[in-house]
């Protein structure tokens, strides 16, 4: 053995994750095997895809030259349903989720209440809006009322969870200070917690308003009213120019509400 060791002349970037070479090979191999299996089970009918490309081109043309006028009555009706559904569902959802969110904060309530509220949150979060909508349409009949119920239910899990986490992260010093003055539980809530979480709650509500509008475009597909029902009809009739118009309206409203809510949040902070 000579004393001269040869140093590598080129620097190689060290791997960030999975430092062990064998593990890296195993993970890469497994990923490759999975990819082959998954793509193999896709079962694509290329002739059908090629045939569909012409239709896709028509859709893109419809999107570029949207037709707002010929179905304007339906679009207007759908939009009104969607917007009213969104607002009422968000208001009701926030009203219900505030007490549940408070109950789901570990630093405020005893363990049994915490368990119950966290269970409600978990149930509401794990069910898809569309699946809830299917059941509520079966119960309440077709129309925006079922959509309103769906969106309210879905809002509860979202807002209550984030609100509960926010309350748990509150500054304990402020709570202790208010408690030291002899404040009751309600007074602690009002004077110590509420000022800390209010900006966040308003931000969350605005964000949920935005999400509810987007979802209202979806649940119409299963019969819960709103712009989704109009969109579904337009696509079923192969009226891609009307469908393009509806999608453009949805995108513009979502953009506006996003800018509006970010402006409002900056204004509140």
């Amino acid at each position: 053995m000579s004393l001269e060791t040869t140093y590598p002349m080129h620097w190689r970037r060290p791997p960030r994750m999975l430092r062990d070479r064998r593990w890296r090979l195993v993970v890469q191999g497994a990923a490759l095997v999975y990819l082959v299996l998954a793509v193999g089970s896709l079962d694509i009918e290329w002739s059908r895809v090629v045939e569909g490309l012409a239709r896709g081109q028509r859709f893109v043309e419809g999107f570029l030259q949207p037709d707002f006028t010929s179905r304007w009555g339906d679009i207007r009706q759908g939009l009104i349903e969607s917007l009213t559904m969104t607002l009422t569902a968000t208001v009701v959802g926030v009203l219900i989720s505030v007490p549940i969110g408070i109950g789901g904060a570990r630093n405020l309530v005893p363990a049994p209440v915490y368990g119950v509220c966290r269970t409600i949150i978990a149930v509401s979060r794990s069910l898809q809006e569309v699946i809830i909508a299917i059941f509520l349409v079966a119960m309440f009949g077709f129309g925006p009322l079922a959509g309103f119920m769906t969106l309210s239910f879905a809002s509860i899990g979202f807002i209550a969870k984030l609100l509960a986490e926010d309350i748990e992260e509150c500054d304990m010093h402020q709570i202790e200070a208010v408690r030291a003055t002899g404040a009751s539980w309600w007074q602690v809530l009002h004077y110590a917690i509420q000022p800390q979480v209010m900006p966040r709650l308003i931000g969350l509500s605005m964000y949920r308003l935005d999400i509810n509008f987007r979802e209202s475009a979806v649940i119409g597909i299963v019969g819960a009213g709103g712009i989704g029902a109009t969109l579904n009809t337009a696509i079923d009739r192969y009226e891609y120019d009307s469908a393009g118009a509806i999608l453009l309206i949805v995108i513009v409203i979502v953009m506006l509400s996003e800018y509006g809510s970010s402006y409002l949040r900056r204004f509140l902070q």
Partner: protein, 277 residues
Amino acid sequence: MKPSLVNTAEPATYAQIWTFRTPRARLALWFGWLALVALFVYCWQVMNAETMWVFVADAPTQAADIGSRMWPPNLGYLPELMKPLWDTLNIATLGTLGGVIMAVPVAFLAARNTTPSTVLIRPLALWVIVASRSINSLIWALLLVAIIGPGLLAGVVAIALRSIGFVGKLLYEAIEETDIRQVEAVSATGASAMQRLNYAIVPQIMPAFWGITMFRWDINIRESTILGLVGAGGIGLKLQSSINVLAWPQVATILLLILGTVIVSEWISARVRHAIL
């Protein structure tokens, strides 16, 4: 709390009782609430103009009826569901993969510190992100089933198109938050623009990238379970056909399976993100 006696302009004497808000703030708050309530009532009226209240009154009996039909779930149906479940997982995973591949260039074009042109390309990339985010994957699936026919491919493409916006938005925010000093250090060695990206920015956003990808994968599992409702393959197809023939015990089985899948995928995603970050 009693109302304070404070004159808001320039108080000569201060009130002896402390209040939470000034009178003017309280007044504004009341008007705000009043406006919200009025808007709510108006929207409620418009929304329910055509509601059939007979059906609504009937709802509890309907709910009890469906509930009694769904119980007990038909567990013998489970083996038949394994293939659709595998399809659903594939839709979510391949869709995430495709979405991420398309989202990475969009994110670099949209981030203020890496975009080639803030005037022309950045707004375009931002528009792509907003458009993808505002259209739900079910609507993408609806369109794609009409265009390329029913099947798994429509589901995969729908999930991919929807993921662009989510991954793109979070990733470009991560790129904009990178430490500028590392970029300067690398450019001081004489690195080209691409080398700056590769050696200064990419290592900084890698943990965020994997976290976002796993997070989106978890969301995509949820979304791909229902894509079958519009014909885009997976377990949703079975759900749709079971509902159509009113086989409620099968519906209950499928819902339980979906619930289990969602919980497991959420657990995996949380574990992986925890390990990375």
